[in-house]
Symmetry: C2
Subunit: 615 residues, 2 copies
């Protein structure tokens, strides 16, 4: 595949240069010009170097279903829709956004480049409180909240009020302000227990549904629940939180709060969909109320020097993943970038499983989107290859067909017609995945640190190279899952090369898991992962467990060096270095171990392993 | 104007007949066929007489901005979009809807007829509680809640849980189950005081906006507020409500609750927009989570034997207006219909005011939608006449121009280009209204009773005839307002004939207002209403005040009979029969008065009246 072969056409349109005359609210001028781009093509939009503010009030509106975000009517100053060969060059400018908006909303376009700019929000979508008191007996802790985070208390619940937005305490985690990173062992203290079961209800059991519903979806998640916490103000800016169930957070830590799941991802910085060719380079994203970039059903995406880091003394950069790719194909490259302090993974690459709920004819099925953050997702286009998957039998498809047509009915239900006939044993309840929409993935020369959750999540059966990166993550540095049961994020994984990376004190959040981990949601012994090479990496860890392998066929762990960092107190001393279950053809060669684990506990193997070799 | 001149073409398409084979969920079959209607035209969709259920799960989705409703992504089984000359004939069938959906979503169509069917919902969007206890001292009242209304209590707040929907106590009113109507003097007891100010906040005053925001919009309405009530369960189905501020409701009354304003209008039965020619006949609507019909920017709408009434022992039919017309033109006819037990007006006919916020050039303005229930409303089409209005000077436009083009930016902001140049004195802050989009309105032979709020609201400067109707409303039977300050519902009023109607015990809800009332939001003496005739009506009232007139020029009150019904205890004995302020050319002729008011108190006139005549 030749990437960006059309770039020679880039100069066909007008070059627009915006200057500081629009800096107080650049939105209306930018929207106005871009809306004319179909008739008066634009090749470049340049900004004279400066600081530009963007408000939502005069932004172009669009209803968006965004994977792994909320779905909402939102405004954008950059409605890049159906455009080709466009470069947006900030020339070193800073764009400050206000409230709920999506800076770059790129859809059905090709060869779009955005470069040389910094993105920030005037007011963050999360809030921070310094822990200044704790009482284990009374189950209270006290937070000092600065004027950066206006709040009010309604019936004992704290609401952080921003321009155009508000959030509750909701999802939370501790940051250590000295390290400016997730606090060591935050799992012992967070998340703060905001919700509990309620015990007063009548006749609820009489409510039955004809069709499957999703209980965890935002519209249902509070049924049977109520608030667990009670917040009181001791004096303005100082609040006491009562009734937390875990340990009270340590003094001096900062509690980061972002509101309840299902409601708190409304403003990613970049949303790229149905687009072939996106180039983001020399970009700094200091904040977003969601991900740095979420790309869906797109191909040939290059992020180079595309950095996520916090500003203005905030602990947090983006409030969700730095980058995230769903159903993307062609080349996906993430290189020379820093992903720090975001509240979720540095990247997550996967497809979607959709569930067959109606077999309508010999070539037509009705499918249901299973997770509310996949609502509205269209699984492919004409002639894409669909696989039928029955996970209890295999993680690999039992039959492949091609799409003829998809009729969008609603965000949960679509009708798919195929070019062939269905296999005779197709059943309602079987899953589909798009086998074409996985990428040739490269993650290279990146620094992934100080963030909540994982480094990279890979559900990619095509090809993945992860090399020359630095990881310092509070959960797994690299997680290779089959997220079938909750997230319905498709993809077994194959052909993954992990080489020349440094893993520094990963899993310091406190979970008892490996630094690199292969795992399936489904409790069976089928192979999900194939052809994995973990080569010449350096693990500098404070704890034992390095590698967790399950459901894998052919994994080579070669030339790696494992040392003890001593950075933090060890948490799980009972662990071996490697855990293997239900896997085969696992080979360990030429590795160096200088950690704490005794030789007879280096590896624990369970299940039906065969062919574990040490050479 | 010849109405429905195209009806001769009605037989051009296929006649579709659905039968009971689809009755368990008729949605997918109906959607599937209607989606093909552009290629395979349909002239009629008939249903074999029966009961048909419609679920939202496989309904066609559309994001809708609906005037005077919530804006939402919603599903419909009848996506009538861009169709012509279509008749849907239920042939006496009953359609039962489940959850949040819009039965008939009719847009950009012409000559659409729906007839011979009954619409109901399996589960209502409101809830009812029988008052079985009250304690004025402790400020509590007790409600018995039947299994029709499943509920749970979360942190002292009651949530009524339905399939696909839930609501809080929110907006409420009392019904008298013996009369099956709004309880006499409900104003003394309701609405229940759900919200109060909160007193714990920090730094909120630092939040400032560059542009105007609407504080009462759903996204802002809880800032500075918290719940006032506390609800406890005494035993399953019996709950005690604490802390109500008005009088405790009387025993035996039924409290109807529908959740908070801004969140509780999600499922009107009919939504008709941008459509020329709609005929609804022999329709019974027993319920809807919103209005019976909301029509916008449409023309030539005939409702004949289009009835709103409750079913299944419910106190309530539709949870909002029976019918409502915004920016509609041509003939609007409402005849031979019953509008009973709905939770808002029987009809409301008006346009919209939009505020000029940017004068962008000599022929281009940016306008803002002022009320959140007008979000997304487009004020007109090319060549419609726009009036510029400055309400402090006059209720009538100071300049008329015509629309060249409207560019939709977002739900609050649009850019309007006109064919002419603006007047030199046009100012930001001036309002616009569409002077063409008012109808020739006829309301005839209708029974309007037992409902919350008004009978008819008329903001129509064209022509209105209201004749041979029966009114028994808890507020005004006929309200002629200029709703400029809160609702931004445009229209002064002229050429209104009110004749041969019976007004029976209107205003029994307890408000101190006239049965027929002319009023402006703006506190000035300008004329808003012209050429009004109130002729040969019969007023059978329990209280004094019949007619309130303000800002009116030329009103004739002739041949009317006023008697005392004695139905209820008099509430406002100090009132005269007629109040007149800031009006002129008001004439009273040949009326018969047999009420309680002494002759020297029949009329109170304030302000700058001239020409009040009795003949």
């Amino acid at each position: 595949m030749v990437v960006f072969s059309c770039f020679s056409k880039i100069n066909e349109g007008e070059i627009i240069i915006f200057n500081s005359s629009i800096s107080k609210d650049a939105t209306p001028a930018v929207v106005s010009r871009i809306l004319k781009a179909q008739e008066k093509p634009i090749s470049q939009i340049k900004f004279q170097k400066g600081v530009y503010h963007f408000y939502p009030d005069k932004g172009l509106e669009q209803f968006v279903y965004i994977s792994n975000h909320c779905d909402l009517m939102v405004n954008t100053p950059f409605p890049i829709n159906g455009l080709k060969n466009l470069t947006i060059d900030g020339q070193g400018s800073t764009f400050i956004f206000h409230g709920v908006m999506i800076p770059f909303l790129i859809d059905k376009s090709s060869n779009i480049t955005v470069k040389n700019l910094t993105i920030d929000w005037a007011d963050p979508f999360h809030s921070e409180g310094l822990i200044v008191g704790r009482d284990e007996k009374k189950k209270t802790f006290d937070m000092q909240i600065s004027e950066t985070y206006p709040y009010e208390i309604r019936n004992g619940q704290i609401h952080f009020i921003k321009p155009y937005y508000e959030h509750t305490l909701g999802q939370s985690i501790l940051f250590d302000p000295e390290r400016k990173a997730i606090a060591f062992n935050t799992e012992a203290y967070t998340g703060i227990s905001t919700i509990k079961k309620n015990d007063t209800k009548a006749y609820i059991e009489s409510i039955v549904y004809k069709y499957e519903q999703e209980e965890r979806a935002p519209e249902y998640k509070y049924i049977g629940k109520e608030n667990n916490l009670f917040v009181e103000e001791l004096k303005p800016g100082l609040v006491r939180v009562h009734n937390h169930k875990k340990q009270m957070p340590p003094l001096g830590m900062i509690l980061v709060m972002k509101g309840e799941q299902g409601f708190n991802r409304v403003s990613p910085a970049f949303r790229v969909s149905n687009t072939n060719g996106f180039n983001g380079s020399n970009i700094n994203i200091h904040h977003a109320g969601g991900m740095g970039i979420i790309a869906e059903n797109s191909s040939d995406l290059i992020l180079d020097n595309f950095n996520i880091s916090p500003s203005n003394g905030r602990m947090v950069s983006t409030t969700a993943d730095a980058t995230h790719f769903v159903g993307c194909s062609g080349k996906v490259v993430i290189k020379n970038s820093t992903f720090s302090n975001q509240l979720d993974d540095a990247t997550n690459v996967h497809g979607t499983y959709q569930k067959i709920v109606d077999i309508l004819s010999e070539n037509q099925i009705g499918v249901r989107m299973m997770h509310h953050q996949q609502k509205g997702f269209v699984i492919g286009k004409a002639n894409d290859t669909l696989g039928f998957v029955r996970l209890e039998d295999s993680f690999f498809p039992f039959k492949k067909v091609t799409i003829k047509n998809i009729e969008y009915i609603n965000n949960r239900y679509q009708i798919i017609t195929i070019n062939e006939k269905f296999p005779g044993d197709l059943r309602e309840g079987d899953l589909i995945e798009n086998l074409d929409n996985y990428p040739d993935l490269l993650i290279q020369n990146c620094n992934i640190s100080n963030n909540r959750a994982r480094g990279v999540l890979i559900s990619n059966p095509k090809k993945t190279v992860i090399e020359n990166n630095f990881f310092n993550t509070e959960m797994e540095a690299i997680l290779v899952p089959v997220e079938s049961s909750y997230w319905f994020e498709s993809g077994n994984a194959a052909n993954i090369i992990i080489r020349n990376n440094v893993f520094q004190d990963c899993q310091h959040g406190g979970k008892n898991r490996g630094v690199i981990r292969f795992v399936t949601d489904d409790d069976n012994e089928n192979i999900a992962f194939k052809n994995i090479e973990i080569i010449n990496n350096s693990f500098k860890q404070f704890d034992n467990l390095i590698l967790e392998i399950s459901n894998t066929d052919k994994l080579e762990f070669t030339g790696n060096t494992i040392t003890n960092s001593g950075t933090f107190q060890q948490l799980h001393s009972e662990n071996p270095v490697v855990k293997v279950s239900t896997s085969k053809n696992i080979t360990f060669k030429k590795n160096t171990y200088a950690g704490k684990v005794l030789p007879d506990n280096l590896l624990v193997a369970e299940g039906s392993e065969e062919g574990i070799k040490f050479r």
